[in-house]
């Protein structure tokens, strides 16, 4: 009677074992890697907005402050997406016939809001508040990058919990005077950490790392 299993079956069995164990571990590892690489976090993904709004032009060329459009950034959890009305504050006068602004005018006359594509998305169980970060001197540029150099907004930071915690544990290099929060080009006068420590002292900056700080 011949052998029930051929000699090759030992190798096959080992291979199956390796695939099973390695596959399980590998899947977990792959998922962990995926959520940490820019592709997984959505960094630098090209996003097409319904209206070709150019932050670079408005911030760098026109010198419009962030807070002119994102009005509630100092007082509310949400920075605020500008209403159509706000666009037309200027664009009823300038470029008021530009085809690029067709949708904005259509929105104004029809009452239908513009449906922008969300770029920075935190999970639903994260309760982020713009106002406290702004009032304690975390610049817009720290999380949103050089908006003045972006023709179309993209996500530059990973927005992972580890990235949040890095700053909450050691915020000093990321602090600036609250008056300079919207500046895209502000540089500390000296060692960033030293300046940050002095600012933290002055502005009562105490980032917290309790779970309930962000999760409720």
């Amino acid at each position: 009677m011949s052998a029930l299993f051929s000699p090759r079956s030992n190798a096959v069995f080992r291979l199956v074992l390796v695939l099973l164990v390695g596959g399980a571990g590998g899947s977990v590892a792959a998922a962990m890697v995926y959520w940490r690489i820019p592709y997984g976090t959505g960094q630098a993904a090209p996003i097409v907005q319904p209206v070709q709004f150019d932050h670079r032009h408005h911030v760098r060329d026109d010198l419009i402050d962030c807070r002119y459009c994102h009005t509630t950034v100092e007082s509310a959890p949400s920075a605020g997406i500008p209403p159509t009305e706000l666009c037309l504050n200027c664009h009823s006068q300038v470029w008021n016939k530009s085809p690029l602004l067709d949708q904005v005018r259509a929105s104004w006359f029809s009452g239908e809001p513009i449906r922008w594509v969300r770029v920075h998305k935190l999970p639903d169980f994260v309760y982020f508040d713009h106002s406290i970060h702004v009032s304690k001197g975390v610049g817009c540029v720290e999380c949103h990058g050089r908006v003045d150099e972006m023709p179309a907004i993209e996500q530059v930071q990973p927005l992972t919990m580890g990235w949040c915690l890095d700053c909450h544990r050691d915020p000093y290099a990321h602090l600036r005077p609250p008056s300079e929060v919207t500046s895209m080009t502000w540089k500390p006068d000296g060692d960033p950490v030293e300046v940050g420590r002095a600012l933290a002292e002055k502005n009562d900056v105490h980032p917290r790392t309790d779970c309930i700080t962000c999760h409720r």
Binding site: T72, A76, G80, P83, V117, R118, I132, R216
Partner: protein
């Protein structure tokens, strides 16, 4: 360490501070043996729905779809305003004052609005009927707004009408009725105090002089006003002030749960229950166990029909012993209650001018007249009790006018019947047979917020706007007017009562805002009206609109005649009806929050029951949950029996509102219709009930034995004079415990959040439970899941009885996570899903939780709740609007529990840090604390010595729950004080 004479682990204990307390007769019978398990049987079993086949299907589907995980979901859209409304900031909550109707009277509310949708209801602190408190019904009314089963649209016969078409057809109907002056037009409405509805009624009656408005409420207070008519010759409303009353005799009056301005009365009652030297004393004479009976110092349990003889006995004792011969004709011999009647009479007399005799609306007019006479003789009139003309448009909203309407209907004298009252076919007395007569009207126009029995029998079904969707106005009992402003435009195609009535004078197209505002403009007028109007909306009331109390003098001879005309109660079993603490008269039957809300006394959920005393159950050879057939006057219903300790003997109490013939998904099969035994002649109680066992068992689910703490000393109560002597015993329930582990020092933190609950103030109404549910997106789970102890309420109110099952006293104890500083749950979590914050909060991290439930097993307080199923799975778009955006909606398989309303703490922290200041010691108000009408809960910063919670933690009555375990809870309790009359000891 001194030997712990502690009442732990079910040892037999001496009466006093920590006398044995039990939650049900079953628990009492098996004491002191601890229950076999912490959770009821089956609580930990997986749902049976997932069989082998569906499991394999799911696995297959999961494998097949696994590849999809690589695809990213589409990016979310961000939608901005076109023109931003000036008062709305996205992501910031706004609050608006409005008013809700309770029995036709207004209660001021402040409603939180998030992005234009109301998400939370609170009482209006400036409104005299609320003072900032609310109750379970007011809290849960919000769910009605978003209920997916609400009625929508307008139907005439089988035709669906649009709004314009409806108004046109109503207008045509009105024109047709105009020819006869409205002789064949009738309106069946609820009692209301709305000035706008009053105006509309007047205008309708001008156009249709022969039409008539009939007000009917199944919970009518017409007997109280009839009593005032006897005593004073005018139908006045009595208003009780408990804060000025040292001695209160409540005669079948549920002052804290049902009758009068319960929110104000609860506040006033609580204010008099904390200082041992200045305690009020509350006597309650009643049949069924009520919230008020639960906090009474002396509760005389008697059949409802014996309350009048008891009151006469008190009057007789006052006349005999205290020189009030004028009362003698009102008096009567005391029967079995002579000792009690004498003691009550003495006490009332000692506190004359500061005492109060209050009568509930279930009692006959004669007793109300007698109480008016007693209050007058005791000098209480104008002090603890005041009388005002009723704010309602109809003084008589009882069965009388309805009977006349039924007669007209029966004669075929009514062509068009407009019904805005809630489901009269269900609520009308059974002997009137409105069901039969209703069909005789050709046009049956029913305005209803959901499909019920009445709208099913209608020819015009008109969906009704929720009060938060419509303009209106209301007066409270003292006459204070409020303009009720809507929080949201109607979600569905609906009509408000104002608009429907306006359609009969061709005004509906103007909309309810214009109708209400124009009415007030005409009423008040003046150049500054628009500004005043804005002020009223902001404040939630019209300042100075309260009516003055009227001076009164009772006519004793008429009172005596009325009292004597009341026949003695027939012998035999009494059946007694009461409004339900959860569904009221039935209008909240479809409200899942309230259905699952345990009754404050019986802890029953999802059903009503025939409540009777242990002795009566023995006499009738009944057990808990036996199904019985109740028969009186030839009418029968089948009901489940619930043995309630302390219920009056020879009486059965049935609560109204259940067992509706037409019900939706939530209310279907819920309870039995007690109203089927109710007659116009005896709407509240009658004798001659026959009870026969059907042999079946009723499926009643009560939470009273859920989450047991195994017979340890938990809810403490003591007679006030003994408090000083009990300090040593109380010290065993507080203070530092020896420990191997050095406690973490939180005193250096800015904030040390803590809570204190005063059992003396707590009335056990459960407003906190529903407020917590609304604030924290807590799901309901359904009757079957409740039966397996899977209810999700973060905050439960335990009700303990003390004494004999026949005549126990009770203590109610709200209990949520106590945020132990040495939390047993944290040691056993394998994934650090529950950890301490720097400020000492016990945090629950949903995303880390893997659902081992070790924490719940190790929690001695049994306050952790597990999502056995995905209770939020089937959320409709409207229910999504209900959720509080500041709180995570939890998924299946995670543990959850009270967070001390951490979202409110963090909100306050950010607001105050933005402004560069510290959070005030009393600044953060938890949802339960905000709702509590009795102010029994204090929350705040324990590191601020000036905060309320710090002071309560230092109180002589403070104790810690299960202190012997060394958990160092942040929630402290204050011992309940009782103030019994030494003469009745």
């Amino acid at each position: 360490m001194p030997p712990l004479g502690l009442p732990i682990y079910g040892q037999a204990r001496a009466p006093g501070l920590s006398a044995p307390r039990w939650r049900s007769t079953a628990e009492q019978a098996r004491a002191p043996e601890p229950a076999p398990g912490e959770f009821p049987e089956g609580a930990a079993e997986p749902p049976s729905a997932l069989g082998r086949r569906s499991f394999v299907q799911l696995v297959g589907a999961a494998a097949g779809l696994a590849g999809l995980a690589a695809c990213k979901p589409p990016r979310q859209k961000v939608v901005s305003f076109v023109r931003p409304p000036p008062e709305e900031t996205p992501s910031v909550a706004a609050a608006y004052a409005t008013a809700a109707s309770r029995g036709g009277y207004g209660v001021g509310l402040v409603v939180t609005s998030r992005e234009g949708r109301p998400t939370k209801v609170e009482g209006n602190p400036g409104h005299p009927a609320s003072l900032g408190g609310s109750d379970a019904l007011l809290q849960a009314d919000l769910l009605e707004l978003y209920d997916p089963s609400r009625a929508r649209g307008f139907v005439r016969g089988r035709r669906h009408l649009g709004r314009i078409a409806l108004l046109q057809e109503l207008s045509a109907l009105a024109r047709a009725q105009e020819r006869e002056g409205g002789a064949r037009l009738r309106f069946l409405v609820e009692p209301t105090s709305s000035p706008t509805l009053g105006d509309l009624r007047r205008r309708i009656l001008q156009r249709f002089p022969r039409a008539r408005f009939v007000a009917y409420s199944p919970l009518s207070e017409a007997q109280a006003r009839a009593g005032a008519e006897i005593a004073f010759g005018r139908p006045l409303d009595a208003s009780w002030s408990l804060v000025d009353a040292d001695v209160v005799l409540a005669l079948d009056a549920d002052l804290l749960g049902r009758d009068g301005e319960i929110l104000r009365q609860a506040r006033e009652h609580a204010a008099r229950r904390t200082t041992p030297a200045a305690l009020s004393r509350l006597y309650v004479a009643e049949g069924g166990y009520t919230i008020t009976g639960g906090v009474a110092d002396h509760r005389f349990r008697m059949r409802s029909a014996e309350v009048l003889p008891f009151a006469r006995a008190v009057a007789g004792e006052l006349a005999r012993r205290h020189g009030l011969p004028a009362l003698a004709p009102l008096g009567a011999p005391a029967g079995g209650w002579s000792k009690q009647a004498a003691a009550v009479a003495d006490d009332l007399w000692r506190a004359r001018g500061r005492s109060l005799v209050a009568v509930g609306p279930r009692q006959p007019a004669a007793l109300h007249a007698l109480a008016a006479a007693l209050n007058d003789a005791l000098g209480n009139s104008g002090r603890t009790v005041t009388y005002r003309p009723t704010a309602l448009l109809d003084a008589d909203d009882g069965p009388g006018p309805l009977a006349a309407l039924v007669a007209e209907l029966g004669e075929g004298a009514v062509d068009a019947l407009v019904v805005t009252a809630w489901n009269p076919l269900h609520t009308a007395p059974a002997d009137l047979d409105l069901r039969q007569a209703f069909g005789r009207a050709r046009e049956r126009i029913v305005l209803a917020s959901r499909d019920g029995e009445t709208s099913a029998a209608a020819t015009w079904r008109i969906a009704r706007s929720h009060p938060l969707e419509a303009w209106g106005d209301l007066r409270s009992r003292d006459g204070t007017a409020s303009v009720a402003q809507p929080l949201i435009a109607p979600l569905l195609e609906t009509l408000s009562e104002v608009e429907l009535l306006a359609a009969f004078v061709d005004q509906a197209d103007r909309g309810d805002h214009a109708l209400v505002q124009d009415g007030w403009r005409a009423r008040v007028g003046g150049t500054g009206f628009d500004r005043a109007w804005e002020g009223w909306l902001a404040a939630g009331l019209v300042p100075g609109s309260a009516t003055a109390a009227e001076p009164v003098a009772p006519d004793l001879s008429r009172v005596a005649a009325a009292v004597r005309a009341v026949p003695a109660a027939a012998p035999g079993l009494e059946v007694s009806f009461a409004s339900d603490y959860r569904v009221l008269d039935g209008r909240y039957l479809e409200n899942a929050w309230l259905q699952e809300f345990p009754d404050p006394i019986t802890k029953l959920t999802w059903d009503n029951a025939a409540q009777l005393s242990p002795a009566t159950a023995r006499k009738l050879d009944l057990e808990d949950r036996d199904e019985v057939r109740l028969a009186v006057g030839g009418r029968t219903v089948e009901a489940g029996v619930l043995v309630v300790p302390g219920h009056a003997d020879d009486a059965v109490t049935l609560t109204l509102g259940y067992g509706q013939r037409v019900a939706g998904e939530v209310g279907k099969g819920s309870g039995f219709d007690a109203g089927a035994l109710r007659t116009a002649a005896a709407p509240w109680f009658t004798q001659g009930l026959e009870v026969t066992r059907t042999g079946r068992k009723a499926d009643l689910v009560a939470t009273q034995e859920h989450f047991s703490m195994q017979g340890r000393a938990i809810a403490l109560a003591i007679d006030a004079p003994e408090l000083a002597g009990a300090a040593a015993e109380l010290d065993e329930h507080r203070g530092p415990q020896p420990t191997l582990q050095a406690p973490v020092d939180y005193s250096k933190q800015d904030y040390r959040w803590g809570m204190a609950i005063d059992l003396s103030r707590c009335i056990g109404c459960g407003a906190c439970t529903i407020a917590c549910q609304a604030e924290n997106n807590i799901p309901t789970v359904g009757k079957y899941q409740v039966s397996r102890s899977r209810e999700m309420h973060w905050l439960r109110v335990d009700r303990y009885f003390e004494g004999t099952p026949e005549d126990p006293t009770s203590v109610s104890q709200p209990l949520a996570c106590v945020h132990c500083e040495a939390a047993p749950c944290e040691y056993v979590c394998p994934v650090n899903a529950t950890v301490h914050s720097e400020e000492g909060l016990n945090q629950m991290v949903y995303n880390r939780c893997v659902g081992t439930r070790y924490c719940s097993n190790n929690c001695p307080y049994k306050v952790r709740r597990f999502n056995f199923l995905d209770y939020h799975q089937r959320m409709t778009p409207t229910l999504e609007m209900l959720q509080n955006p500041d709180v995570t909606v939890r998924a299946r398989g995670v543990m959850e529990k009270c967070t001390y309303c951490v979202q409110r703490i963090e909100r306050a922290r950010i607001t105050d840090r933005d402004a560069g200041r510290k959070i005030g010691g009393n600044e953060v108000v938890s949802a339960c604390q905000q709702a509590c009408p009795a102010q029994a809960i204090a929350f705040g910063n324990l590191n601020d010595p000036a905060s309320d919670v710090s002071r309560w933690h230092q109180d002589a009555r403070r104790y810690d729950l299960l202190h012997e375990l060394g958990t160092r809870p942040r929630t402290a309790y204050l011992v309940r004080l009782r103030n019994p009359n030494p003469e009745l000891a």
